[in-house]
């Protein structure tokens, strides 16, 4: 059994009076690719925001490599080796493509990913390195967002809805690149609405429903009917 890299212990999350997550428990082992699936509003993005520190939690609710990190700021969590590819890409509009990538590397962690490596993974970005990031197509912007997270050389990378709003051919390009990314020994958590896509790249899957884990299992053994029930919450 590989050692756990991330443990969530009874994780709650709130937006003001609204509670978005209820007592989430999760264990992620080193090198795993975990898929997080669930309908809109199930709490997937909230979960990503909590782990990356954009939402504050109690310290002991999120344990990373044995250290409680739930109460740390997002920049401290980034320094410790967790990177998020945020939903909707969220590139910096005043920065060029290259600057968006460089700023991802500014945490100064050592590892396999450099500007050259990113340009090899997504060659189109090299041609457009000096363009403003927001002049790129949606798919190219997603490549920049992924590259920006990789530049930090994280141990754990979180992908939040990276196929949202993209053409199928672009989604294929991006998913084809995933094995190269996680093949470097990186642990990944992948939030995805497209269940088939999510299952095709992951080893284990968690399904969220209304802020709770409704199903958990290994990808190869999980039953599609169970997923449907856990996803939509229908009794059959």
């Amino acid at each position: 059994m590989p050692e756990p890299i991330l443990q969530l212990r009874v994780l709650d999350a709130h937006y003001g009076d609204f509670q978005a997550l209820f007592g989430i428990d999760m264990d992620v082992s080193d090198g795993e690719v975990i898929a997080i699936i669930g309908a809109n509003g199930a709490g997937k993005t909230t979960l990503m925001r909590s782990i990356s520190g954009l939402l504050p939690n109690a310290a002991a609710q999120i344990v990373y490599r044995g250290q409680p990190i739930g109460a740390l700021r997002a920049d401290q969590i980034a320094q410790s080796g967790i990177a998020l590819v945020p939903e909707g890409r969220q590139l910096f509009p005043s920065l060029s493509v290259e600057e968006n990538l460089l700023i991802g590397g500014q945490v100064g962690r050592k590892g396999p990913w450099s500007l050259e490596q990113i340009f090899q993974l997504f060659p189109v970005l090299k041609e457009r390195r000096n363009q403003a990031a927001t002049t790129l197509s949606g798919g190219q912007q997603q490549m920049v967002a992924i590259g920006r997270a990789l530049m930090a050389n994280p141990d754990l990378i979180l992908f939040d809805e990276i196929s949202l709003g993209l053409a199928p051919v672009i989604i294929k390009t991006i998913y084809d690149a995933l094995p190269q990314i996680v093949g470097q020994g990186m642990t990944a958590m992948l939030v995805e609405q497209d269940i088939t896509k999510a299952l095709s790249v992951s080893s284990r899957v968690y399904c969220l429903q209304e802020g709770r884990v409704s199903l958990e299992g290994r990808t190869e053994t999980i039953d599609r009917d169970d997923i449907t029930r856990a996803y939509f919450g229908t009794e059959s």
Binding site: A74, A83, S94
Partner: protein, 287 residues
């Protein structure tokens, strides 16, 4: 010839206004903070210059070596201890707090230095002039203008060619996402304020050498700075220099017609630009 002379004087005066404005523009550009105390911080720097020159017996320009780091350090502490707490979705708290800061600074300076006008003595630089094609140009205004150009070129370089400038722009775009890149927003804002007040230190010393000052003159410097920023277009540093020059030229040409019209002409020029180009002459273009 008199008119050309007034034009040149106004242009050079614009350099000083650009220095007033650059810090203001930088603070607004990075953290969307409108600093009402900016004029009083300029006056504070002038008084710091006064104290250092009197106590150490050094030239005001040498005093910059002390005043610049002192103002930068004060800026960093001010930002982290006070102003960061006021920043959020609501723009009112920073306005109120910097307004309060302005009142505190004025009264503290009044208490410490009295209301008597003071001046920094630069040993003849103030009155020296050079002849250029029939025009007599003051050495100090010329020097001020050159310093303003150098400062703005320097800021431009920092913003667009260095890692810290990249961080300034990223935090300004989206502070949350910038945190994900390992950037501590509170620290970056502190550094931006430190840089802004370093520029303010230069502006304060040059102001003190050029004219006499007392604790109450900060308000007018704030207005000139604001007008230069708005004329030039928010978020554009070279535009700020252009804004300062337009304001300076309007003032000297106004004074040429009638000495009482100097300030009025500046404000009118500002209003005209605002009416014709509400975003200023050179608003920030998407980089």
């Amino acid at each position: 010839m008199d008119w050309i002379s007034a034009l040149v004087q106004g242009t050079l005066l614009g350099g000083l206004y650009a220095l007033f404005a650059a810090g203001l523009s930088l603070i607004f550009g990075v953290m969307r903070l409108v600093n009402i105390a900016h004029g009083d911080l300029i006056v504070l720097a002038a008084y710091m210059g006064l104290s250092t020159t009197v106590m150490l017996g050094i030239h005001p320009f040498v005093a910059l070596l002390i005043v610049i780091p002192a103002m930068a350090g004060a800026g960093y502490c001010l930002q982290r201890a006070v102003l960061n707490q006021t920043l959020g979705d609501d723009i009112l708290p920073p306005l109120l707090v910097t307004f309060g800061l302005s009142v505190i600074l004025q009264n503290a300076l009044l208490e410490g230095y009295s209301a008597d006008p003071q001046k920094l003595s630069a040993g003849g630089v103030e009155t020296a002039s050079v002849q250029l094609g029939g025009l007599s140009i003051g050495v100090l205004p010329l020097l001020t203008f050159l310093i303003a150009v150098a400062v703005i070129a320097g800021l431009q370089f920092i913003f667009y060619r260095t890692a810290i400038g990249r961080a300034f722009r990223a935090v300004s775009d989206n502070a949350d996402i910038a945190q994900l890149m390992g950037l501590n927003k509170a620290h970056i804002f502190g550094l931006a304020m430190a840089l802004a007040l370093a520029v303010t230190a230069i502006a304060g010393i040059l102001l003190g050498v050029r004219t006499s000052f007392d604790p109450s003159v900060g308000g007018a410097r704030l207005i000139f700075g604001f007008e230069a920023v708005i004329i030039g277009g928010l978020g554009n540093l070279w535009g700020t220099l252009a804004g300062g020059v337009i304001l300076g030229v309007a003032q000297t040409l106004g004074a040429k017609v009638d000495p009482g019209w100097q300030l009025l002409a500046g404000h009118v020029a500002f209003l005209v630009v605002l009416a014709v180009r509400p975003n200023g002459l050179f608003p920030r273009v998407a980089h």
